[in-house]
Symmetry: C2
Subunit: 167 residues, 2 copies
Amino acid sequence: MKYSEAKSDLIQAWGNLGYSWGLNKVMAQIHALLMVSAKPLSAEEIMEELKISRGNANMNIRALLEWNIIYRISVPGERKEFFRAEKDTWVLARQVAKERRKRELEPILKTLKNVSAVENDGTEETKEFKKVVKELKGFAEKSDGLLDTFIKAEENWFWSTIMKVFK
Amino acid sequence: MKYSEAKSDLIQAWGNLGYSWGLNKVMAQIHALLMVSAKPLSAEEIMEELKISRGNANMNIRALLEWNIIYRISVPGERKEFFRAEKDTWVLARQVAKERRKRELEPILKTLKNVSAVENDGTEETKEFKKVVKELKGFAEKSDGLLDTFIKAEENWFWSTIMKVFK
DNA sequence: TTAAACTTTCAGTATTTATTGAAAGTTTAT
DNA sequence: ATAAACTTTCAATAAATACTGAAAGTTTAA
């Protein structure tokens, strides 16, 4: 397989995967492109490689910066801004986990906590509701705890601990 | 907080959460409604509660059935089909994990495996590409393994094992 | 067999999300 | 101060996704 083909395949696949994190396709594709690049790229280069407009590039670069999974690089002697991706997979994974926890888990935890306070009105419906909410809340809290551990963990420790226990 | 308000809040929040799993809003809302219901509901009841069309209800019920997180119930003496959600949070979580693994993780694993076979052409770009792909592949495989363990695990064992090690 | 009850499908439409390209804004070099 | 280089913004448009309501299809009771 040729490099250009492999790169294109990875960028496409990453574009699709990004939807599951809450990224749009182009945002994820820019990320993939920066991840596999040996050096930082300018918005112009990104535009050209992915065949997107300057505005689209700008907006999605911005969003990736907000996720803190790419960084803005100033190169002496260049007016242009350059961008590079986080290159350490572990750091990347933790950062993605952190953002998703904030965007996905925290809102549902908050709602579950709020609706836990539903009044006891004696009906079967409310009884079932409370039961379901209690269980969901428990699961969500445990998951939050596990995610917290992951976000704070050192890579070797995390995987070796997992392997030790689960094998 | 009144039951009806709590229910509505949860359904809304679940609708938003569902996007992160690859469900659309109504699909997730139907799921939430069925989860908190004390008894199975018909398509008619779902339509009325969520104020959606019969066609929309049907399509999203169908999708949830495909995810295997709700079940079709035949009630003797009734022509209508009824639906109920999986009520065991653990079983639900595992099923969601299973589906997402299939839809999200497997495609990227496959692509990473494919592009690992990129030719060595001696360029810096290809060298960097191979390095990044190797790391991503490693992380994805480990995550797949962890997910596999989760999908197959018994609830008490899983959480107590996690707690024992991480605390 | 017929018709009522029920479910599914689908073409057209509505809504949401994504994208564009140029205007507006900012920075830097002369 | 001026203009070139660069970045951001935004109104309009395009594309994708979601939804409708009625037609088509299926099941059941009489």
